[in-house]
C-alpha cells in the first residue's frame, strides 16, 4: 500500500515537472476487471483490482504507462483451487506517423504472487495504434502489439504473442478525464518440463481498466 501511494506521488510530481516543459499530461486512478486462463480451459480465473495510469504527449511523441494490482479467484466451473494476485506494469512510447496513427514500443511485466500459482511474464512490446478524435475531447484508440522475447517464471518460450487494446478517453469537465482501456493477450507459450518433450502451455488474459484522470 505504501509503495502504491509513493508511486502515485511520484506520478503527480513527474506530471508537474513535464508540464513545465510544455508537455500535456494526464494521471489518475483506475479500477480493473480481469480474466486469466492458462494451459487448459479449466484453469481459469476472474479478478478485480485497482491501479493507476499516466500519459503524456509532447508534439509527435507520446508515452503511456499503467500499473494495476489484480486479485484473481478461480472462476466458477473451473479446475483451479486457489487464487493469486498479480501486479502488471505496462508502458508504451509512441511516435505519430500521421494525425491518426503511430508506432509504439514498450514492455509488459506481470508478476504473480504466490510465484508459482501463475506465470509471471515479461516481454517487449512492438506495435502500432490508431486513434481518432470522435468529438470535442473524446478519443478512441485501437492498438495491436507483438510481444517480443517473452520471459516466463516457469520457463519456456513463445513463438507467437500478441496484445490487442481498445481505449477511450473523454474529457468530462475541465481537466477531468474519464478513461477506459481494454487489453487482450494471447501468448502461445511452449514448455518442456523434465525434458520429456515440448508441450503447449498457452496463456490468455483480458483486462479492463476504467478510471478518472486529471489533465495538466
Amino acid at each position: 500500500m505504501m509503495r502504491a501511494a509513493a508511486g502515485a506521488v511520484l506520478l503527480v510530481l513527474a506530471a508537474r515537472a513535464a508540464l513545465a516543459q510544455g508537455v500535456t499530461v494526464t494521471v489518475g486512478p483506475q479500477l480493473a476487471l480481469a480474466s486469466y486462463r492458462e494451459v487448459a480451459s479449466g484453469l481459469r480465473y476472474q479478478g478485480t483490482g485497482f491501479g493507476g495510469g499516466v500519459s503524456a504527449r509532447y508534439r509527435k511523441f507520446s508515452a503511456e504507462a499503467g500499473v494495476v494490482r489484480l486479485t484473481f479467484d478461480p472462476a466458477a466451473g473451473g479446475t483451479a483451487t486457489s487464487g493469486f494476485t498479480a501486479t502488471e506494469v505496462d508502458a508504451w512510447l509512441a511516435y505519430d506517423l500521421a494525425p491518426y496513427a503511430s508506432v509504439e514500443v514498450g514492455f509488459i511485466r506481470r508478476t504473480a504472487d504466490p510465484e508459482f500459482d501463475a506465470q509471471s511474464v515479461g516481454a517487449v512490446r512492438i506495435g502500432a495504434r490508431s486513434f481518432y478524435e470522435i468529438g470535442p475531447g473524446a478519443t478512441v484508440l485501437f492498438r495491436a502489439n507483438y510481444l517480443a522475447a517473452p520471459k516466463f517464471s516457469g520457463g519456456g518460450h513463445a513463438g507467437f504473442s500478441v496484445d490487442l487494446g481498445l481505449g477511450v478517453d473523454v474529457r468530462l469537465a475541465g481537466k477531468l478525464h474519464g478513461t477506459a482501456a481494454y487489453a487482450f493477450q494471447r501468448i502461445n507459450r511452449k514448455t518442456n518440463p523434465g525434458g520429456t518433450g515440448e508441450i503447449d502451455a498457452p496463456i490468455q488474459g483480458t483486462v479492463a481498466r476504467v478510471g478518472l484522470a486529471v489533465g495538466f
Binding site: 480451459s41 481518432y132 470522435i134 468529438g135 481498445l166 473523454v170 481494454y182 503447449d200 483480458t206
Partner: protein, 348 residues
C-alpha cells in the same frame, strides 16, 4: 416713348458709377462738377472738372475728376477726349473696372480703348495654396493690357530674389510657380513680394502682391490594420453534425471484438467478454454522445491560407507606408497666403 426710355436709361447708366463714388469727394469744385453731371449740365461738368484738376486733389479725387470728364465726353460724343480722360483714370487707378451693364456703351468702349492704349498690369491675383514642396505650384494670374516683355519675380524681405517667369505676354496670363530653388529645395519661409514688371519700349509698368510663405511638416500616413473590402476569415469551422463519431466507435470496438475472437486459443476456450463489454460499451456510449453533441471546430485550411496572404499583403503595404513616411518626414509642406496690399502698382 421708346426713345425717351432709352435716353433715360443711358443717362442713368452714365451717372451711376460717378454717383457711386461721389461720397468720398472733399474738393468743392469737384463736388460741383459732380452735381452738374447729375443735372446733365455737361458743359459745366467739363469746365468744373478741369478747374478741379488744377487744384490740389487726392489720387482718388483726381481719378474721379478724369472719370467725370470721360463719361461727359462720352455723352457729348467726343470719344477721343473721353479715351484720353479714361487713360488718366487707369494710370491713376489701374484696377479700375467699369460695369458694362451699368455704363453706356460709348463710355465703356472709350474706357476699353483707353485700357488698350496704356501699358498696365492689372488684376494680379495669387490664391492661397498649400502643397508638398516639389509636388505643386502657386497659381499667379494677371492681365497685361498691351503686348509687352513681362518679368515676374518673387522678392524676399530678407533679400532673396527669384525669377518666376520672363516672357512676352499680352492679355490674361496664368503662371505656376513651384516655389523651389534651383537645387530643388523649397524657397525659404518668409514674406515675399511678387512683382510683375511689364516693359514696352520706353513704357514700363509694375504691379506687386505681397505673400507669406510658411513651412510645415507633411502629414504621415497611418499604418494599416486591414485592407478595405477584405476581412479576416475564421480560421476554424464547425463541421456539420453526423453519425461519424458513433460509426468510428463501432469500428474501433468491432476491431477489438474481432481481434479477440480471432485470436482466442481453441485449447483455452472462449475468454471472458465482460472486460470488452465494459470498455466497448463505454466507447459506443461516448460515440453516441459525441454524435449528438455539436462537433468540435476544426482548422479551415483555406481560410488560414487566405488570412496569411491578407496579413502578408497588409505587412507589405505597411512597409511601403513606412518608406513613404520616411520620405514624407524629409519633405516640406509649403503654405502660401497673399497679404493685404500696401498699394504697390503704378507706371515707372
Amino acid at each position: 416713348m421708346t426713345l425717351q426710355l432709352r435716353a433715360i436709361a443711358l443717362l442713368v447708366g452714365c451717372a451711376a458709377p460717378v454717383a457711386a463714388g461721389a461720397q468720398t469727394v472733399q474738393n468743392a469744385t469737384l463736388r460741383r462738377a459732380q452735381q452738374a453731371y447729375d443735372n446733365l449740365e455737361y458743359r459745366q461738368v467739363v469746365s468744373l472738372a478741369q478747374a478741379a484738376l488744377r487744384e490740389r486733389l487726392t489720387g482718388a479725387e483726381r481719378a474721379r475728376a478724369y472719370e467725370l470728364l470721360g463719361f461727359t465726353y462720352g455723352a457729348l460724343d467726343s470719344i477721343l477726349k473721353a479715351v484720353d480722360a479714361f487713360k488718366q483714370v487707369v494710370l491713376i487707378d489701374p484696377e479700375r473696372q467699369l460695369d458694362p451693364n451699368r455704363v453706356s456703351p460709348k463710355a465703356y468702349s472709350a474706357f476699353d480703348v483707353a485700357l488698350r492704349q496704356v501699358l498696365l498690369v492689372r488684376q494680379l491675383r495669387i490664391d492661397s495654396t498649400s502643397f508638398v514642396g516639389g509636388r505643386g505650384a502657386v497659381p499667379i494670374r494677371f492681365t497685361v493690357t498691351q503686348p509687352a516683355r513681362v518679368v515676374t519675380r518673387a522678392i524676399g524681405t530678407s533679400g532673396g530674389s527669384y525669377v518666376i517667369d520672363s516672357g512676352a505676354w499680352n492679355g490674361q496670363v496664368n503662371l505656376s510657380w513651384p516655389a523651389r530653388l534651383a537645387n530643388g529645395d523649397p524657397v525659404p519661409a518668409g514674406n515675399y513680394t511678387v512683382v510683375v514688371d511689364a516693359r514696352l519700349g520706353q513704357n514700363a509698368f509694375s504691379a506687386s502682391q505681397p505673400i507669406r510663405v510658411s513651412h510645415g511638416s507633411v502629414d504621415t500616413l497611418p499604418s494599416l490594420t486591414s485592407l478595405p473590402g477584405y476581412q479576416y476569415l475564421p480560421e476554424t469551422e464547425v463541421p456539420p453534425q453526423s453519425w461519424r463519431p458513433l460509426g468510428l466507435a463501432f469500428l474501433y470496438t468491432g476491431g477489438a471484438l474481432v481481434g479477440t475472437l480471432g485470436l482466442e486459443s481453441s485449447s483455452l476456450g472462449s475468454s471472458s467478454k465482460r472486460e470488452l463489454a465494459v470498455v466497448g460499451g463505454a466507447a459506443l456510449v461516448t460515440g453516441f454522445v459525441m454524435t449528438l453533441r455539436k462537433p468540435a471546430a476544426r482548422p479551415a485550411a483555406a481560410n488560414i491560407l487566405y488570412n496569411r496572404l491578407l496579413r502578408d499583403q497588409i505587412a507589405r503595404r505597411n512597409q511601403d507606408i513606412a518608406k513613404e513616411n520616411v520620405a514624407r518626414r524629409q519633405q516640406v509642406q509649403l503654405t502660401l497666403v497673399p497679404l493685404s496690399k500696401p498699394g504697390g502698382a503704378g507706371p515707372r
